[in-house]
Point group: D2
Chain length 339, copies 4
């Protein structure tokens, strides 16, 4: 997983989105453009928004779903769907957006129990699997190897952003894979996000950056929560504190978005706690495997467990603000499960 | 310490600096402007830079110093100095910039051992003590009371920024005190910083915001350190990760400045560890008094203790990056005490 | 996983070992005694000592080993061995002592890659699998179910004690399973340990108690390490402190054994760090699944990661004493890998 | 604070109590026995029990109290009391048992506000101040110096044990001071405790051992709380787990006493949380001064703050069991303030 070639600042190449609906034309002409239908697996809140944006950009999509009723649900978004994964196997590109390692492994390697063949065995040589899920680096390495054995490409391209950002094509994409494969995916990235960061050939690096980035946000939420709880216990309005912080040292998106949520005590569903805890688990495992402890993440982990145990699992991770308040003896939410 | 009146966003009034050397003239005419020499106590790296900026703005300064040789050292900066605190007692405004509660208390309350009278006993009624040190809220409350008893004003105005920012008049100032006193200080703030946030009448609030703000930065340093150590242990260049973070969710000053220092492993003296640990101690005591735990700050506390124990006490707090690396088994600094 | 029946103190039935070599005769006569050879899988340091004790108690053992050369190595201990697991399938009792969930699962469920049939498919109905490994409760539940499907018994009986204790028949055994199965195993327990605690029918409970018990010891080691490091940094001999502790509030085995190791700074291999970290991982996962955080264990986890990263992985978990010393700036071990 | 002389195990000399009421007669005849009334300062729950035991051993006591009504309250215990500290200044021995550094400092150094002269200025040369409070090492050093300047002895002798143990003369005493002074105090120790550990000449060592010992117990409580909460969340009775632990690795007093309290969820007042938090604060300050972090104690600190914030401040420190349960989502106490 060497990265020596990207030690200079400009080695993270980044491309701004071109305008919607207009596939980029400046890819090296030698590489064949992605043509025909794009396969899509994982039509949750994130995936459905992303697939709809592809359709809006005149990129036809064929989605694989598990339950028949989902086919009808996707029609209004212009997305064709099938319950037979075999219908995706002629695609030059298949995008996956799944909740965890196991779900993705099953899609790629197949599953005897479900009589699924798996993408690796089924896709044509030269096809690309564009894997946008948040997964472990071990899983990324395994799937990359499997696709390579079948002469296919595997591009890791996890994203930063919630479903609203996905809808608004405001995702940030971190991409890694064989250079030629990444270049062929670039027009697709331009339909999905506001900016793509290409970090090199090793797919694991993209997944690791995504996990560590989520931990940066999680610990930021925790620290905002801790400071705001202190202010509340002192009888002070936390708003001036937040305004001073975001006007001086912490003007970035994370502090502004989540600071505001915690100050206003609004924890409407967004990034829900069980999924956050899954990412924390993956990140701590990566840290353990790397031999590098992350005690700050341990703090978040414990508070997430408490939050879920108290019935806040359906809320956004900004509910860490509520947990910090409760650790300071302030009252619990009255109807944690109401949305 | 009620703050109910500042629950609306615009209650943090903020004023941009006017151009250098030009005292603001728009203060309510009814309030007498600060005239004559400004007293200055605490001529360390921060204080000396600030006093020099006052002189440059045609505000004469009389500084109190402990040792005679300091008088000569301050001359090139245009600062008159004295070893007799009595020479400051006719000033309408005295600024203090001292390292801790005890030093400041001694200056205000006097000290029998040193035969010092103390500002409270010595200043004229109506004079203002502008206290810019990072101190506890308990100390702020005590000194405010003492000055009130003597008919004097006490304005708390701690600052965000290092000595370089002080020199460049780029400090952020958080001010609290009686409204009339704060208005009279505003022209002075305009000579010292780029922006002033007025948070109300209770001086303690300004000091608490300052301490919590420093904890925000300290935990940010720690988390950057932890993530970058994981990347290094995986054999990856941390630069692309940092660039992606600061281009997406963490575009603020703290992440850009300190992320860069940790990636480049440059820990030249700036905010030195014993002073950081003092602020951590004060912040944890405030949290304890408020009845609101801050476990993320506990993590930083332990790593600072380790850093000082390993001989890194003279370095900048960005050396938390080095401690995270050592917790991951990477090599210690060869010459920690060299600067 | 109900445990209502064991809510009274005396519900943990405990049996003292009878004298060696004399199988207990007071089991209900209705239950057939275990006859013939006892199968044994997992002949590591623990397993080999335990199997040797069975042989010494005139209980013939047939051990399954992976490599042919192990057969010769076990002969001096009086243990017959085979590389064909099929040779164990006629046994009325098979004991397993394996390092982790995966190894045990493979033994019970079989493995296509290795053309292994697996105990569940191969043992006779009525036979008992006595599982003495430290594993997760999820694995215990899965294996119990699998054996039940095949009409076999599954008794969980993890042990407290290191290889020296195993040799000396000083293990403590925590047993759970169907009452009849546990009773049949009791004569075996009497050959292996000094005392058996029967905690009920649910095998998971025995495994959970074992994992939590190990965490009790791990956090004890950590706290001894932290206090002793403080004393050392103050230039004090830690021996009087330890003596006072163990003479007053902490007279138990853990504090006496491990306190002495940490004071004497002897970390010779015993319970090696990667295995400790595995148990920590399992315990934290149990806590997460139960929805109950264990922050004290998080502290140990981070220090174990650091210890392994510094090359101390081959040493005993008492090396946490060394890590605490290094966090206090004391010198690292000169030859961490020497034993 | 050298301790080189006590590096051999038997350097902690320990004396068993002789039978009650019978002063030891084997002290070196060259040292004058303590004669006449013994002064006692600090008649709280601990102090009153200890003073009563002195009286019961035919050692007359003259107690200094702040409020007149206390004089009557102490009469039934056979304790003479006075509100004039001057009445204690002829004593050859004065015992103090006070809540914190400040209270003790005031007693020794005097207080202008209260027109108190202070023990150091008032006691006769050759008299001994036997300081049994739990205080910081810095305070111990300061008071020792002050008494030395006045030709008096200062013996530090903090105790392990709660008020019930004090009543039953079951305290453990850790004593340090000039050898001759300690020997003269030994008959007094024999009236108060079951065993005395003499750790050397430096008084600070006794106080440090006391603080670290309390941290050992605090972290033990926390870990018992964490494990028992996991078992409860799994629907298991924690009693078998505790019984197994105390029967195997953790047979000491702390685990038996406090494990039982946490399992039975009885948190009746004993060692109340604000005093525990004071000791935690002192211990963390000692660790910080020594340059040796104690992260396990940080965990306890945060949970104590939460417990007090939730209204459990009047309960025993075993209420850490309740906090761990609440962190796992279990219900809060219905009437935390009821006793």
């Amino acid at each position: 997983m060497s990265n020596s070639e990207s030690s200079k600042r400009d080695d993270v190449s980044s491309s701004q989105s071109s305008s919607a609906g207009e596939p980029q034309t400046d890819s090296p002409s030698i590489l064949p453009s992605i043509m025909g239908e794009i396969g899509f697996i994982g039509l949750g809140r994130m995936g459905a928004a992303m697939a709809a944006n592809l359709v809006a950009a005149r990129r036809p999509v064929i989605a694989y779903v598990r339950r028949k009723e989902q086919i009808e649900q996707l029609k209004p978004l212009g997305i064709s769907a099938t319950t037979d994964m075999g219908d995706l196997l002629d695609c030059q590109l298949v995008i996956s957006m799944l909740p965890d390692d196991d779900a993705l492994r099953q899609v790629v390697m197949g599953s005897k129990d479900d009589h699924l063949a798996g993408l690796a065995a089924g896709l044509m040589p030269g096809a690309i699997h564009l894997s946008m899920s948040t997964i472990s680096t071990a899983c990324a390495a395994q799937l990359s190897l499997e696709h390579t054995r079948h002469g296919q490409g595997y591009v890791a391209a996890p994203v930063f952003g919630n479903p609203d950002a996905a809808k608004a094509r405001q995702l940030f994409i971190v991409a890694a894979g064989a250079a030629a494969d990444v270049v062929r995916c670039q027009p697709i990235f331009d339909c999905l996000g506001q900016r793509t960061f290409v970090v090199g050939a090793d797919q694991r690096e993209a997944n690791l950056i995504k996990l560590l980035g989520n931990m940066m946000t999680a610990t930021t939420l925790e620290m905002l929560a801790e400071t705001i709880a202190v202010l509340r216990k002192r009888g002070l309005d936390p708003q001036p504190f937040l305004e001073i912080m975001t006007s001086t040292m912490f003007g970035g998106r994370a502090h502004r978005i989540y600071g505001d949520k915690i100050v206003r005590q609004t924890y409407a569903p967004g990034f829900m706690l069980p999924l956050v805890l899954k990412d924390v688990r993956l990140a701590l495992a990566e840290a353990e495997n790397a031999g590098s402890p992350m005690p700050s993440v341990g703090v978040v982990r414990d508070r997430l467990i408490t939050a879920i145990a108290r019935g806040y699992g359906d809320l956004d991770w900004s509910v860490l603000g509520q947990i910090a308040a409760e650790e300071a003896g302030l009252a619990p939410l009255q109807q944690p499960l109401a949305k």
